[in-house]
Point group: D2
Chain length 410, copies 4
């Protein structure tokens, strides 16, 4: 259980920190300015492409990739372990709109790429994985539905019906992240091929549905506390009205959807948690800068006990979260994603909740500025808060983790 | 200390509830649709005017008004006490974008009208108070500044300088609620006429600055967790660059600004708290409807202990908040705003914090829907959360209330 | 809904406050000293009798009593409504070991007296109610059992079996408050007369079991966080090993036990809550005195923001709790205990939890003194904390209150 | 930063776990029984000596000891690093009354032994350190005073005055842990030799005061939430009324008291935190056993969502705390106690607070049993709660940690 950064990690951290200082932070304001002048807010600011080119040039590309065994992947990715990637993902979390995208490490593409590498056939890899790895297109993962509690995948209502040599997809999905971006060329859709099947975990399948398939309608942009998340390609409501795709677009086999989803979500959760820690660090930095620069009622904010408590508690919390994330990454590397199941749940429960609290106090310390667009805090808060219910709400993970704990005593 | 609703209150509650059912709730979707088709998002949907006309016709107009002694005002208002108004304001809080505006009871106009009635001269009343009372124009209160902790009014940096028979206003304000709305015709501006004066509470003055005064620039719309609050006229950054107004635009006398601000804020705070309780009630209703209508992991949400706790705790909290608000209203009626100072602070501390928590759980229960535009919860949350820092952050009120409590033991 | 103190209440408050200052507070140290010299720690210090005599002389006696209709009782009690009693009970809560006992308003005797008045026959009243009303004996209520979740009365395992003209009681009870005191002459025992009966709420009955009945063993004193609660007569484990009592000792009829218990617990809960508010007020007073008298790191504690927040939040919380308790009392007076069911649950959920938190902060402010016997805080904390699980844990009341709230939406 | 257990740690863990199962847990009830029959409750049950002999025989003795460089000490101790000791201390925390004492790893002797080894002269080591290492006597550390906020050592009022070749100690101390035990033969007393000295951190000195010195009065046992902590030798109020000791009893030099105290407290804090984690694990185990064994309202407690949340959150919290403690131990081993200052503060802030919460929920789950002497939970709670104010209250450490964080931004 050695969490020290090895040479490769240290070297990449240095390179990534330089990239952040030299390119990413300066690009934040540039991106806002460029977006304001785009024809559609869903188009991509030019600086995005420049950042990607620069990151690739600097060897900061596809850092996240682990192979089907959960091991470093040198075929598709940078060949890093989860433990090596964790501190890098944390750094990108400090500018979560730009840095993950710039390094081709942004959700949901990351999970989709790993999914295709692991479960896709050669044709699917050729058609979709390669351009994704190259950062030429983007992709979406269409699972959540408005009408049912989708954290319980047995509730899924979308139908994927075999019809000759095709599958016909019918259903309504929402909060399909990235799908508002016209560069998002393909959806991985979760639905039921065998809705009445005996085993509720074998009813689901996944198919690849190209964006331009007739019957696919990207209906509208959902918001998250008022934010449209343009940089991420938004969160779309997508209606599949008899969308017909070749049968070869099935990923894996019929009935494998549930298992593929489970396999996909673990790494995604840890990536989110890594970045959340970077978001929390940015909040602490902003809190400290604000506290030393403002005076109220005759005393610097930094000299006020309540503010000191907020800062101290944030530091104490972050240290704990980081260690738990590193341990989880290390476990995933050594015993695999399934072996790290409890720890993945633990960080999923602990991290968003705690980071939400840190961000909330940072907002409070900034007064009106905190809720505004002039500081990143309110938007980071909304992103963190949403992670308390995305990929399964806290309560689902608490329930599952408790079951495991209790089993020992039966 | 009798909080029972008297006959007049009951009668008005009935009338208001009917207005909500028949006009306000149906108008919510209409307003969204109309706004989407406006030339500027800051223009006013036609349904707003219809609601106002209908409310006025039904005798639901200027319900909030108390006179300079804090007593029912029949000259300008509906002649209600604070205690009579409280349950009505709560009801309007269930649809906070429309109902307060429709009944001409919306901030910041309410506080501005009372201020003008109490401190304005006859000319000022004629010019500004009358059209405000008639709902023909709107107004803004320009106090908060981006560069200083404005909850401590001695920090205010805006200058109001006498120059001949005029005052010249120079400074930068932000989060000036309502100012993005072109119908907002006048700003009450807080600044310093005597920045070096010996008494830090006599340095400030207030002047009326018409929107079309040269040197006034409504620069941009600030957001609140991503929301622009179009219905409220937004929250503007406003720059006063040597804006020149006649000396007769001074409100009261030079040096009276601090005292006027204090007088203005008390009633405003209780109005916010009354409406917050209505927002919390709407959240509980939505939680219950969701809980009885959804199933996850084989059980109705309503049957799950965590959900039951959220609902029970929300009910227990609301009951307490409502009683404290009613007591405060009753105190304001009987001993005046100054006599109710501690209670006003108490509700200002207690209410936003508790309602934020209730709304947060309602969001969690709604999953992705909770953070979306399809339910009012996320937007209500943002509004409630902002009230933990508007009109002075929680911490300022806690500090002040503690001073008062401690004084008894010195 | 008028919560103002009427003339009678004001007069009694004045009299009671004088009694507290002149007799009760001075007796606190006396009682500790006397108890240390008693032959058995369960004997009664002489000052207890003196306080009772003095309270009776001052007309501060049996203040709590309401009759079977929940109305003021002038036959047995002082003829006060719940609303009149509430502020008096709060005052006695400031010295909860002495003042309730001194005024013959201490649990569990209060509930037992009301129970006997309402459900007892004349013989039972003569034998037990009269000496209880006179403060000559004490009593206990034997419901909780160690082996089952007794908050669900259908779980009760004690058997009450008819045998000729007697009932035979067999079972084990614990946390029978007051039973360690040798003056506790009678137990009201809850058990099952019809354990297999069809209606799970008609299986239970209650019988009066005199302390000296053969087969009754007061086995040991249970502790509450290290406190034996000698002043209250402790909390005993009591074993009933075939204890035989005349059939006429049955209270009411067979099968009525569940209903009698429900009727008994409501008023008891509000009494606890009233006193808890007095305990919280004492904590705030101690916090303030400590804060103005100590210095750490160069600043008076009272000048430190964290301490100010604790004090302010305590004040805000107490105001809310008091209003909710007063409203509940008023409801009990006007619509009866059943009509006030939801409010009784609400105060049972809200009050102990909030007062525990206030006391905890008071402890923290007092450092080592806070956990010691030199301040009442730690012992008050233990008492308040126990009320989060006595008479049904929080969770049971939350569940029940949520059911009621949800029912409206089905 | 490798936290994996090395071979030696694994071997010792196995040995210690066997000792717990075979000797310590069975001795818990034995000790209670023996103590009840002792002449004085402050005497030592015979089983204590047996446990110590057995632990020593098994090579489980003085495991805690690190030398003056913070490195494994083979002269006096078992030669373990902090990182090796941490998981062992955690295990002893599962039975905190017996296991630390049995292995001669109990506070305050551990800190006193390290202090004597580092700062004592040869005579002092011979006289006091050797019998302490052998477990033949016990010792106390007399720092806290009732009249001042002693977490700020500049407040200390006890005087240590040079008089010829002696020091005369005058002052009042309390919460001197262990001092009620007659085997506690010596006090290390912190006082001021130079109360008016220019440097407030050079005014203090420490002297060794044998228990039988004239002028030393062990006046009374202080309690902690009603617990006397007999097993630990209680917490005494000790009065030094001109107690005269030879000048050679000075530890180190005059003015070194503050620095010695700082050096002493770091390791003590981490030991407490290690044991707290063991206490939390015991609480989780008890919660799980209770939850699978009880039914309320028709469902096993383990199936109830609130209980599941408590268990899940406890597990998530413990994992984080343990990692932070391990990291801190590793830091102390690698960069020394001063280098680990921030982390020591972090665990001091995080651990007691979180474990208090876990224990509180475990109490709640156990109902009346939870607050009783039949389960260890209430007593463990009191011990954990006290650690939120012992060795400096949370707020002092938060303040200090925040200063360090803020310094980077000035």
């Amino acid at each position: 259980m050695d969490f020290a950064f090895d040479t490769r990690t240290e070297e990449l951290r240095g390179r990534l920190l330089a990239f952040m200082e030299e390119c990413v932070y300066p690009a934040e304001a540039v991106a806002v300015g460029q977006r304001a002048r785009l024809a559609s807010p869903w188009d991509t600011p030019a600086v995005f492409g420049e950042l990607k080119a620069e990151a690739r040039r600097r060897g900061l590309w596809n850092l996240f990739f682990v192979n089907q065994h959960g091991l470093p992947d040198e075929e598709y990715g940078a060949g890093l372990t989860n433990l090596q990637y964790a501190p890098l993902a944390e750094i990108t979390g400090r500018s979560p709109h730009l840095a993950p995208m710039a390094t081709n490490c942004a959700a949901p593409d990351t999970g989709n790429m790993e999914l295709l590498a692991q479960f896709g056939n050669e044709r699917q890899k050729k058609q979709w994985l390669e351009p994704l790895l190259a950062g030429e297109i983007r992709s979406a993962f269409a699972m959540t539905e408005p009408e049912v509690a989708s954290s319980d995948a047995t509730n899924i209502e979308t139908r994927i019906e075999r019809d000759g040599d095709a599958y016909v997809v019918t259903g309504r999905k929402w909060y399909i992240s990235g799908a508002m971006n016209p560069d998002c060329k393909v959806f991985i859709v979760m639905g039921k091929t065998d809705p009445g099947g005996a085993d509720p975990r074998r009813q689901q399948s996944m198919v690849l549905v190209p964006r331009d398939t007739p019957g696919v309608e990207v209906r509208r942009a959902m918001t998250v506390y008022g934010y449209a998340d343009h940089d991420h390609g938004g969160h779309a409501e997508v209606v599949f009205d008899g969308a017909r795709v070749p049968a070869e677009n099935l990923i894996g086999e019929e009935g494998a959807g549930f298992a593929i989803a489970q396999a996909r979500l673990g790494p995604g959760r840890i990536h989110h948690c890594m970045r959340l820690i970077g978001m929390a660090e940015r909040a602490v930095e902003l809190m400290c800068r604000r506290a030393v620069g403002r005076t109220a009622f005759g005393r610097e904010l930094a000299a006020q006990g309540v503010v000191q408590n907020w800062i101290a508690d944030a530091r104490v919390t972050i240290e704990q979260l980081r260690l738990l994330v590193l341990k989880t990454a290390w476990l995933m590397d050594t015993v695999g994603n399934r072996g790290a199941h409890t720890e993945i749940q633990a960080i999923k429960i602990a991290t968003p909740r705690a980071v939400v609290e840190i961000l909330d106090r940072a907002v409070q310390l900034h007064g009106a500025g905190g809720v505004s667009q002039d500081f990143p805090l309110a938007e980071l808060w909304a992103a963190a808060r949403t992670l308390r219910l995305a990929d399964g709400p806290d309560e689902v993970h608490q329930r599952s983790l408790a079951h495991r704990e209790l089993k020992r005593y039966r």
